[in-house]
Symmetry: C2
Subunit: 721 residues, 2 copies
Amino acid sequence: MGTPRDDREEKTPAPSTTLSPSAEFPPLSAGDLAALGRLGRQWRLNDRVRALPVDPGVSEVRRPTDTTGAGTGPPGPFQPEHPGYLAATAGAERGDTPPGRAAGRLRRLLLGPPLASAAVLRERMPKLVALPVLSSDLLSSVAYGPEAMLTVLLLAGSGALGLSLPIAAALVVLMVTVGVSYRQTVYAYPHGAGSYLVASDSIGPRAGLAAAAGLILDYILTVSVSVAAGVAAVTSALPTLTPLAVPLALAVIGLLLAGNLRGVRVAGNVFAAPTYLFLAAVVGLVAVGLGQAAARGFTPVAPAPTPAVQGLSLLLVLRAFASGATSMTGIEAVSNAVPVFRPTEWRNARTVLTWMVGILVVLFVGLTLLIHLNGLVPRRDETLLSQLAHRTFPHGPWYPLIQVATALVLLFAANTAFNDLPRLLYFMARDSYVPRRFLHMGDRLAFSNGLVTLAACAALIVVAFGGHTQSLIPLYAVGVFLAFTLSQAGMVNHWRRHRGAGWRRRACLNGVGALLSAVVLLTAAVTKFAEGAWLVVLAVPLLVWLFLRVRRHYDRVRDALSPQAAVLAHPPRAGVAADPAAVLPQQVRHLFVVPVVRLNQAALRTLAYVGSLGQPTLAVHVSPEEQEARRFHDQWDAWGNHIPLETILSPHRVTVAPLARYVRALRRGRPDVTVTVVVPEVVVEHPWQRVLHHRTERRLRRAVRRVPGIVVTNMPTHLPR
Amino acid sequence: MGTPRDDREEKTPAPSTTLSPSAEFPPLSAGDLAALGRLGRQWRLNDRVRALPVDPGVSEVRRPTDTTGAGTGPPGPFQPEHPGYLAATAGAERGDTPPGRAAGRLRRLLLGPPLASAAVLRERMPKLVALPVLSSDLLSSVAYGPEAMLTVLLLAGSGALGLSLPIAAALVVLMVTVGVSYRQTVYAYPHGAGSYLVASDSIGPRAGLAAAAGLILDYILTVSVSVAAGVAAVTSALPTLTPLAVPLALAVIGLLLAGNLRGVRVAGNVFAAPTYLFLAAVVGLVAVGLGQAAARGFTPVAPAPTPAVQGLSLLLVLRAFASGATSMTGIEAVSNAVPVFRPTEWRNARTVLTWMVGILVVLFVGLTLLIHLNGLVPRRDETLLSQLAHRTFPHGPWYPLIQVATALVLLFAANTAFNDLPRLLYFMARDSYVPRRFLHMGDRLAFSNGLVTLAACAALIVVAFGGHTQSLIPLYAVGVFLAFTLSQAGMVNHWRRHRGAGWRRRACLNGVGALLSAVVLLTAAVTKFAEGAWLVVLAVPLLVWLFLRVRRHYDRVRDALSPQAAVLAHPPRAGVAADPAAVLPQQVRHLFVVPVVRLNQAALRTLAYVGSLGQPTLAVHVSPEEQEARRFHDQWDAWGNHIPLETILSPHRVTVAPLARYVRALRRGRPDVTVTVVVPEVVVEHPWQRVLHHRTERRLRRAVRRVPGIVVTNMPTHLPR
């Protein structure tokens, strides 16, 4: 037997990436199990406790209305499994009231029938399917990345737009470096691991939490930005819809939420079509555009002259660079998802990652070049991609096709966040850094709590920023590159620790990736600080602090409630007065208190219920006036004065406060006694009738909730129908 | 022994108008007392129940921190009165936590120290004090009544304004008739009685409820209209404040609410000053104005020509008449308040009523005449009274004086509603027509619930109508004259029933009053239907229907819970299986159910608590997967398997629904068993930590609340500090 804390460290071995509904029920440590045994050996109960008046297998009541016998009716809500085990059927989840059942049916209709845990999808994807599934987030970024870069440059006037080419070249270096760096992550974590797990594992919990905070902001912003950009692709084509941009974006977020609550695992080929369509469309756009430019001898069209609003400075160039870097968001998707590949998983994953980065570079460079050659300038009412498509395909079906493909791929990119954020929250909840309810898989196997949280935050941001993509971008780069930096710095540590073959080269590659990411991170944080990045710069440490507070709370609860703590705190000795935190039945002393307002059936039933337990019982009557108190005493005597009665005269006509104070006073007199207050209450049929009755029990419970050793309950009395 | 309903009729003898905090505790009927005795004689308890482990007088614990002895410390929260009686001191109402105590101190600061019930004010007023106190509502009405009339006439163009004189003459007849009629009410109900009591008593409950509904609307509108008119008096003098009219009105309502929650009985002389000031100001205004007119030879100034927007019709004239009749609101105040007069109460009350009506007629006629002679026309931005004061006193302090007096007297008029509506709700709650919480006197002896309801409704109306008095007037007349009509029709019935000396003459006078009131009522309802009176016409029957539903609910509860019903429904026979509604302890069969998620101290304490009661107990574990369930069983066995355990496998990972269903199934198998579910729960220190824990008990309780015989409670476990 060690101290109660000796087994905490066992909790985080190598990070596991499998999802299990049992994660809500963490196992007990060996020390706790031993303590349980010690406590159990001292447990004394009388035999009546095991003499159940019912069959716990509820077999005879499974079909109470079927009086014809023969057991041919529909199965009951519970099916026997083994002795002591019952399996709940869907019937056991059904509501008991007509409105409850109607709500259940509506839910089924919207979200589909519930799914068993065994249905957790463990689909394996060939590379050509994995590519579109995992790249929609990354590739869709080119729909807004170049535009973000040019918008910054335009601040220095249209003359500065020519700088887009060297900046794009620098970004290509960044993309390749980060891509190579992530190839190593895939190799090192063949079971898949996002930045949170890598940084936690290789640097430490705080680094992991910082990466997680960055990623959480990133995912929320991915939804906001992608949905806003997708809506912008639509409104660029149909300008009449422009005033509806915000409601449209909210509707799309709602649809994504509903789809993901339904637990729709969008099958690979559903993803494949629009992503390949987008790819084909943009590649076609680039090819045709370059052909047209070649016909003009690659002479750039001079952009429409725009006056400078600020001077061209290194700061501005860096800002443009950081904005353009948002084209890389989503590059980490493959490293999260290694297990979905066919064996050898890490090898296939690396291949797909290489393809993705290659395509990204081609699209990004091609689009930036074309925009330059055509002299296009960012406009508030039409995206650059839309302008380019209009210019390149003035007629024919190509323009709408490109816009539809863009909108679709952005939608799928937003969907990626709906897949990934709840998983991240799950891993964090498993480590007790966020509320444990994020561990819960809904009846459609979706992490409903995480999904709803994500949709709510994204919707809030869309509304707050009026649905305008560009203004969200400053918020974006900081979170993304924080996660990139920490994850790759983690990899450097990983190699240093494991020192396999060629670890220096690997560490070096990841180090360069980390360094470049850090440069972008700092650039973004500094240059865009005033524009909104300060929000993220503030939010990350705040979130980390919050995560740590949550963890501390859970740790305190676990330590305080551990059976070992019970053994240490209350060495059970015979003959010693019991304790408020008694964990053995023979230590518990009872006092029941029944507040009685009038001697009606509700009160009589409560008194009978409590009296039948055979424990010391005290009735309390709170009265505003002596005259009323006397009258009540007369009633009490007429009934036979079976239970001791104490009357509290409350001259200021307050009821609950003196009652709570009295109960606390009783308990203070004998801290070894557990006081149970049972309040008679009437159960009304309709919610509106609740205003007609006092809700004493609720208020009393609130008034005494900070005092240990007081149990408050109500004894419900139902009106006959 | 009669049926359980045999004593219902005893409840409404002659209406009592005294207010008592004991009204919340209606006495038991003789039948119920006898039934109590019968039930009590069959009550069997074991002796432990009376063996209390504590002193219910809490004497030894009164000052737990005072270890120096000698008992010289401050008194404890409870003082012994007689054996079995404790008196709660203010200390017993104090919160237990620092924020609770701070809230209590803030409350004391704002509302003052609590008042004992004996402080209910039973002040007697001399006539010269009663006059201003009771007449502020009535006399203040002349600040908006003539204007309301002229606003309607102006619709037919400025030429129609001359009709104001004949209409005013008709209104004077109405005022005198209604005044005489109310003189009779004062005589017939010397203990004071509002329209609700008179109509209930003399016609029947539904008539009383209709009058009450009208009065409730009237009181709410009095606050809205008076406050809006008071603010208009201020903004007429200080036009820069006009855009702030609504916030100003809301602030005034808030102040009135706070003052009345404080229970400030504004002493007579506080009322006297501004009412007499207003009286003097308006009488002065009329006198000086008539003097000026006499100097012009009483030649009316032609009003500024205003084009007609509709033709002059009988309907329009009737509408103007009904609008002008709002000048009479408040005329019923004396009949409510007869007991506040010095003896002989009814005689003094009649005298004051006569004075009031006389003053009303003088002011109303004088103002209408002066407005006509000066050719004034209602304007949106300045009240007629303000225009008149400006015209009559172009210089000097008179104009602001009149405006201030008007604003003050309107404020006091609104305050009248704050006095009267909660009283009306009290009388209705005593008859079970509105929620019983309106019976409750707050710790400042104010009917806090009624006050808050009134302020909230009035504020809502002010906001909805943008604070514009004139648009509220159509809503006003209908409710007032409905109450007048019913109350006076009730008087006719009263005389017919009692047939004292001269009853025919009296009935005749009241009949004329009722008839004229009914004419105004119908006129107002018909002519102003489209303008908003339809709201009141709809609201009155709706309210009456609501009152009757509330009454029916309370009646059902009382009948169902009456001890007599228990005797009838469950004749206790020895050896017969017990009943879900068992009212004798020997009939109660227990089953305790403890849902256990993990075997930590919270669960162990709950199991110990329940086990120590020595009643049949079943532990239930809901698990998402067989694997987790097996692991839990192993823990259970390690502990010693002291209590039967049933495991429910919930393949869809739902927890509360199958648990609720299981408990219901257990109970359905043995309807004679009371199932008590005790849920282990952790009590967190800060509210934000609640999101970190499941609130299973709350959800479970909601899921089973419709099933009788199931008690759900939580066993709180506090974290050590």
